[in-house]
């Protein structure tokens, strides 16, 4: 695989793990239309936006949109962000010939979702370095 699929596979393996599934937080990647009625879920967007040490390495940002019900306060999205921190912040993941290293996270409340007023969106952002063997 190329570095983008390798990166995607590395990040997706975290959210495909039994441990994450046990958290019971519905998780979707970008370009998947959710067709259930869950009002609390997250959506991942991987943004590999900067070069790194070699052709097979890249750094970037993992943006996770956290959707919760509107008009219930901030606790629900902060709780999900804390769970994400447990899995991601400063964590390193080895897979095949690759190493994925996450750094610090930031949580930004974005307000009522522009596509659905029944949802509130907060944005969890964490930077990463992805190292591949050249």
């Amino acid at each position: 695989m190329g570095k983008y699929l390798d990166l995607e596979s590395s990040i997706y393996s975290i959210f495909g793990s039994q441990q994450w599934k046990a958290e019971n937080i519905p998780t979707y990647p970008s370009n998947v239309i959710k067709n259930d009625s869950k009002s609390s879920f997250i959506r991942l967007s991987i943004i590999p936006n900067s070069n790194s040490v070699n052709f097979k390495s890249i750094s970037g940002v993992l943006i996770i949109d956290i959707f919760t019900e509107t008009n219930i306060g901030t606790k629900s999205y902060s709780t999900i962000a804390d769970r994400l921190d447990d899995y991601l912040v400063t964590k390193g993941f080895n897979k095949n010939n690759f190493f994925l290293q996450f750094k610090e996270s930031v949580l930004t409340p974005m307000g009522v979702d522009k596509d659905s007023a029944s949802l509130f969106r907060a944005q969890y952002t964490i930077t990463f370095n992805f190292f591949g063997v050249d």
Binding site: Y12, T27, I33, N35, D36
Partner: protein
């Protein structure tokens, strides 16, 4: 007979009277979808429904895209619900239902779109 049943019944008669203005179509509805992160694919159950539809108008591509959009009308009792992303098959071609589904309780009016060749 309730008003709802009366409307549905009259709609069915109207669809019959329209004869060749009504087309046979199918809709593939995806439900219970989940994403399998380990295999990087959607897992979902699919159901195909065959029904009658009226294609109200079609718009061809503009300068920024090469797609064909159509507006369709169906009886709600034939399908109950539709979701954005469901697949609409008309004359052997697959269209995606886009984000405009109007529901007046008896009729569903929605847009479908597909990429077309410009040859």
């Amino acid at each position: 007979m309730s008003y709802r049943n009366l409307i549905d019944s009259n709609l069915r008669i109207a669809f019959k009277l329209l004869k060749d203005l009504v087309d046979d179509i199918s809709i593939v509805k995806r439900s219970n979808s989940d994403f399998d992160f380990l295999n990087n694919e959607i897992t979902a159950s699919e159901e195909t429904i065959y029904l009658k539809a009226i294609i109200i108008e079609s718009t061809n591509s503009n300068s920024k895209s090469n797609s064909k959009k159509s507006q369709c009308l169906i009886q709600k009792s034939d399908v109950t619900t539709l979701s954005v992303g469901d697949v609409f098959n008309y004359k052997g071609l697959d269209y995606k239902i886009t984000n405009s589904i109007k529901d007046d309780g008896s009729i569903l009016l929605f847009d479908v779109e597909r990429e077309v060749s410009n040859g």
